[in-house]
């Protein structure tokens, strides 16, 4: 695996200067590596991982199961691409099993998510049905436990 990418995945939140120091590269080298990763479509982007229950603005999230009519030639791709483009859609996956797409949707309120489902999503031609499940509470976000986020390291300072 690319060493810059490896460090990104394990290193928490190192700055590019710190990454350069660890890898014995110049900062420009690290930035060039990151650009290459982006250009090759490996690294899509970087964003903070929030504990949304601590967010004042209030975010409502829902998982929506969508059944689609597949099309000759492209299967589900055209419709999936169309649905994925909505700003409300955070993630979109083609699934095996009882439905076709699983999408994760963010909205400022329950009404806004409901409006997205009833006005945008379900009115697209080819969408057969939707089932919306609102998320009630998060216990882990992208590898970070919510409860223990601030837990202190209990190791002794000096040990044999």
């Amino acid at each position: 695996m690319n060493p810059v990418l490896k460090l990104l995945l394990e290193g928490g939140s190192l700055t590019t200067a710190q990454m350069a120091q660890v890898l014995k590269l110049s900062e420009a080298d690290v930035n060039r590596e990151l650009d290459t990763l982006k250009k090759n479509g490996v690294l899509l982007g970087m964003r903070p991982i929030l504990n949304l229950s601590q967010e004042d603005s209030g975010v409502v999230r829902a998982v929506i199961e969508v059944r689609l009519t597949p099309e000759r030639g492209g299967g589900f791709n055209r419709l999936a691409g169309r649905i994925a483009r909505f700003d409300e859609v955070e993630s979109c996956y083609l699934m095996s099993g009882g439905y076709d797409l699983m999408i994760i949707v963010n909205g400022a309120s329950l009404q806004k998510v409901a409006a997205f489902v009833s006005e945008k999503l379900s009115t697209i031609e080819g969408v057969l049905s939707t089932a919306t499940h609102f998320m009630l509470r998060s216990y882990k976000e992208h590898g970070f436990l919510i409860e223990n986020a601030a837990q202190e390291n209990e190791r002794l300072k000096v040990a044999p």
Partner: protein
């Protein structure tokens, strides 16, 4: 009343651990970056912790056999054969102990007659010499040197050997130096052990954390199984220090002797820890390798930094310790470490805590986050630069 007169002479005569002294100073310092620990920064992988919880749920709260759970001994037998190329019978050649520390103590107590001499290489883990003395043995240190990357050489063994030596303790890879021996060196040590008719106690607790080459256990050298007690545990590779679980493998007669001491002192290791250990051996390899990879990269970074700073540091082939030579600063290792702590709030351990031969060196544990290592490196650099100006 002066009740100190009641303390046994061989206990009263033991020095307080140098680490303990240093710990007292560091404990008072708030927000110090500590490279002073001797354990992984990772918590035990969750699946192992979960196995411990499950054991409790299932009512596994009783004594086990003195030797330990047979399922665990079977798993150890398989694991040791696969990874160390030596096979032990789960029935009578494996004993589960409360950490390798207990295994070492049992071996000393089971094998040492008062006045028997025990060779051990030094710098070394803090309990070797006291373990020998507490069993009424005489400790015979064998120096290892930075010029050999702290590998144990037969020349040093020969120079230190004296009539009456009965045991040889090995800890490869070594805490605190990270030094280890390649196969040829191990073979030479084995030959020496046969020549001098020594029993070898081989503490291989850091063996999974070998970064270059293949770890060779002395027990796997032809003719050595019968005179080696192989000691190992779960603390370092599986990040299970607090579980206190280890084991000894060896010839049935020696294991039986150790078991006698164990049975009358400890009885058995915690059943919960034993259940966790089974999970670690059966399904823990991936998590262990992931941790090792991270230590590997952190080692490369911190060793490079020490050398850039001008503190000569050999590349430790195993363990999670760097052992830089600080003598160039003109200070002794204690003053260097205390000054570093007081001026920059970075804690490393003076090498002399690990014996005479650690003088002029300090131990820095790199089992900590990159952020901390980077910051510690920068602070040590400034500290050394300021020393040079003085």
């Amino acid at each position: 009343m002066d009740n100190s007169k009641f303390i046994a002479k061989h206990v009263a005569g033991l020095p307080k651990s140098g680490i303990r002294d240093f710990f007292d100073i560091v404990a008072k310092m708030k927000d110090a970056i500590s490279l002073g620990v001797g354990e992984p920064d990772f918590d035990t992988p969750w699946h192992i912790r979960e196995a411990g919880i499950y054991a409790l749920e299932k009512g596994k709260t009783h004594y086990t056999s003195n030797l330990g759970l047979i399922e665990l001994r079977r798993a150890i037998s398989k694991y040791v054969e696969k990874n160390y190329s030596v096979s032990y019978s789960p029935e009578n050649e494996i004993l589960i102990t409360v950490g390798v520390s207990e295994a070492l103590d049992l071996a000393c107590r089971a094998l040492i007659n008062p006045g028997d001499k025990v060779m051990y290489h030094q710098p070394c883990y803090v309990s070797y010499m006291p373990g020998i003395v507490l069993a009424h043995g005489i400790a015979v240190p064998v120096p290892t040197f930075a010029k050999d990357n702290f590998a144990l050489t037969v020349d040093a063994l020969r120079a230190a050997w004296q009539p009456g030596c009965k045991l040889l303790m090995l800890n490869l890879p070594c805490n605190p130096t990270g030094g280890t021996c390649d196969r040829a060196q191990i073979e030479a040590i084995a030959k020496f052990a046969v020549e001098k008719d020594l029993i070898v106690l081989s503490d291989e607790i850091y063996s999974e954390l070998t970064f270059e080459g293949v770890h060779t256990s002395i027990a796997s050298i032809p003719g050595m199984k019968e005179r080696t007690i192989f000691l190992h545990g779960f603390s370092k590779a599986f990040a299970m220090t607090g579980w206190r679980i280890g084991y000894a493998c060896g010839p049935a007669t020696l294991i039986e002797a150790m078991m006698k001491v164990h049975q009358y002192s400890m009885l058995c290791a915690s059943i919960i820890a034993q259940e966790g250990a089974i999970e670690a051996l059966v399904r823990g390899e991936d998590a262990m390798k992931k941790m090792r990879d991270q230590y590997h990269r952190r080692r490369d970074f911190i060793v490079r930094r020490f050398n850039e700073i001008g503190l000569k540091c050999h590349l430790p082939r195993g363990s999670f310790y760097a052992f830089p030579d600080i003598s160039k600063t003109g200070m002794n290792e204690k003053d260097f470490a205390i000054g570093l702590l007081q001026e920059t709030k970075v804690a490393i351990v003076p090498g002399s805590a690990f014996g005479e031969n650690g003088k002029g060196f300090c131990r820095a544990c790199f089992a900590t986050s990159y952020e901390q290592l980077i910051e510690a490196g920068n602070r040590i650099e400034k500290y050394v630069q300021n020393l040079a100006k003085k």
